[in-house]
Amino acid sequence: MAIVERHKDELERRAGPQDRAPAVVEFRGVTKHYGTEKAGLTEATFSVQRGEFVFLVGSTGSGKSTLMRLLIKELEPTKGTIKVAGRDLAEVTRRKVPYYRRNIGIVFQDFKLLPNRTVYDNVAYALQVTGHSRKEIRNRVPDILRLTGLSTKLHNYPDQLSGGEQQRVSVARAFVNHPPLLLADEPTGNLDPETSIGIMQLLFRINRTGSTVIVATHDAQMVDRMRRRVIELQRGRIIRDEHSGLYAPRDMNTAEFGALLREPAPAPKRVEKDPIDELWGDEA
């Protein structure tokens, strides 16, 4: 990417957040204990603005998946509040949870595919749940499967796929609804570098259409190359949160530091139509 383009991109990415309240995701003092003692997440406070692309990094067991599971209300926080698009998740009743989850695309670390369904049916299920017509499903599913490189595996069952292929099915299922908020837990964990880049490009493309994307990953190379916001966890605590971050903190060299200083303050900018506005649409 040419430097000019990158710069423009950067401006676009930074534009707006302050202007467009409320934040898509807001954690305030969130603590999650497993059982009575085991801490999964401790006093996590951060917020993610619309259209942001966030990497969640940290060694294994540091609480990344816990954070994701709290976000989809699979777990309840022990303490603190989580808000999504301005709505406190504690207020979402059990009956409303399914409708809430439909607006979030999730790539699970352990894929969570339905074992008794083919690749095609697994992806189609996400659409059937939301009541899409058969015609729509026939249109959309092959497209997303082509995009994730699964065109030849349509009729295979999950146990007939390699780990990486299962992961791609999981990614396809998360994308197929065009969710305003996309959570990906290790979406490239089992993939070769080339496919990883393909998946990241897909995430990036989705992000550019206005979706907010949060990716938990161990892929240092990818984080370093993409230069997005990075939140680092360590034993359940947030120890670093920086824009254009690297996988591992390192001293900036003078040139980079200078570049950062020269960067002009971004002008506020309003996006006309943002899919996140429809996240709680079912309520109305």
Binding site: P98, Y99, R101, I106, K112, N116
Partner: protein
């Protein structure tokens, strides 16, 4: 919401989970078979017991010289007794014909009719037979019995035999009732456990469905329909087997054994409909209810 989709889902799931589906269907089949055999057997047995109890009666023998007026008066008196049920009159001539047919040689020898006119009185409740006898012929102070009408020669009911019949049939009826209750309990347990096992193996599937945003009813309907289909399949097969068994085994024997031909057994058609309905209902409700526990994700 979308019946077509749910039905397709249910059928696909039966196909993909062939072994648990087969187990569920087989348990319905076995249960319905056992019930289908035992319901008529229980009925026939209690029916036979009741019939035996119905045979307990009091014979009222009239004097040889009783006139038609005497007969009518005695009939009225008997009918006015509270515990008396059916009163059947057997005339001398009728009794003679009946006995002669049964034992021609002996009556050939006798020549003339030695039998009196008789009333056969059935008590309203079999247990009241002795009360009825006492009412018709109260015991006198001397210990003998005096009938309530001078045209009555004697009143007879075998005390020992009656009590034996009554206790024996009561035990049979109670045993059959207990057996029937046990059978129903066993059936419900068997079916609900089979369903629970097959659902348990799919707990993760249900979890994943919930995580991608499926509502409870969206998940539940296919399961319930699956239960209906399996229950109906098991029920139909069992009813077919029962029909074959009835035609091949019971019907030919029925002509030889009074017990099996006892009139009070349920009609086969009614039995079939009852069993089918029960198997469908139980398996549908079973699937729907067992699923509740897994929906809490």
């Amino acid at each position: 919401m979308k019946p077509g989709f749910f039905v397709r889902e249910a059928l696909r799931s039966i196909g993909r989970n062939a072994i648990p589906s087969f187990a569920a269907m087989a348990s319905v089949l076995v249960t319905v078979l056992v019930l289908g055999v035992f319901i008529p057997v229980v009925q026939a047995t209690t029916g036979a017991a009741n019939e035996v109890r119905g045979r307990v009666l009091v014979d009222v023998y009239l004097q040889k010289d009783a006139t038609q007026a005497d007969i009518d008066r005695v009939r009225d008196r008997i009918q006015s007794v509270e515990t008396a049920g059916k009163v059947e009159f057997v005339s001398k001539a009728q009794a003679y014909q009946r006995e002669k047919a049964r034992n021609p040689e002996a009556y050939q020898l006798l020549g003339k009719n030695p039998l009196p006119d008789t009333f056969r009185v059935t008590p309203k409740k079999p247990d009241d037979v002795l009360k009825l006898r006492d009412a018709l012929a109260p015991a006198g102070v001397s210990g003998g019995r005096t009938p309530i009408d001078e045209s009555i020669e004697s009143v007879k009911s075998s005390k020992d035999e009656s009590t034996k019949i009554l206790t024996a049939t009561r035990v049979v009826k109670l045993a059959m009732g207990a057996l029937a209750i046990l059978l129903v309990i066993a059936s419900v347990l068997l079916i609900s456990n089979t369903i629970r096992l097959s659902l348990f193996s799919r707990r993760r599937e249900v979890e994943v469905m919930k995580l991608v945003g499926a509502t409870d009813s969206f998940i539940r309907w296919p399961f319930v329909i699956e239960g209906v289909v399996l229950g109906a399949l098991g029920g139909v097969l069992a009813v077919l087997l029962l029909a074959v068994g009835k035609i091949a085994l019971v019907d030919p024997l029925a002509e030889d054994f009074a017990l099996i031909a006892a009139p009070r057994t349920i009609q086969f058609g009614v039995l079939a409909v009852l069993l089918l309905g029960a198997s469908v209902l139980v398996s549908a409700a079973g699937s729907g209810l067992s699923l509740r526990r897994f929906l809490r994700v």
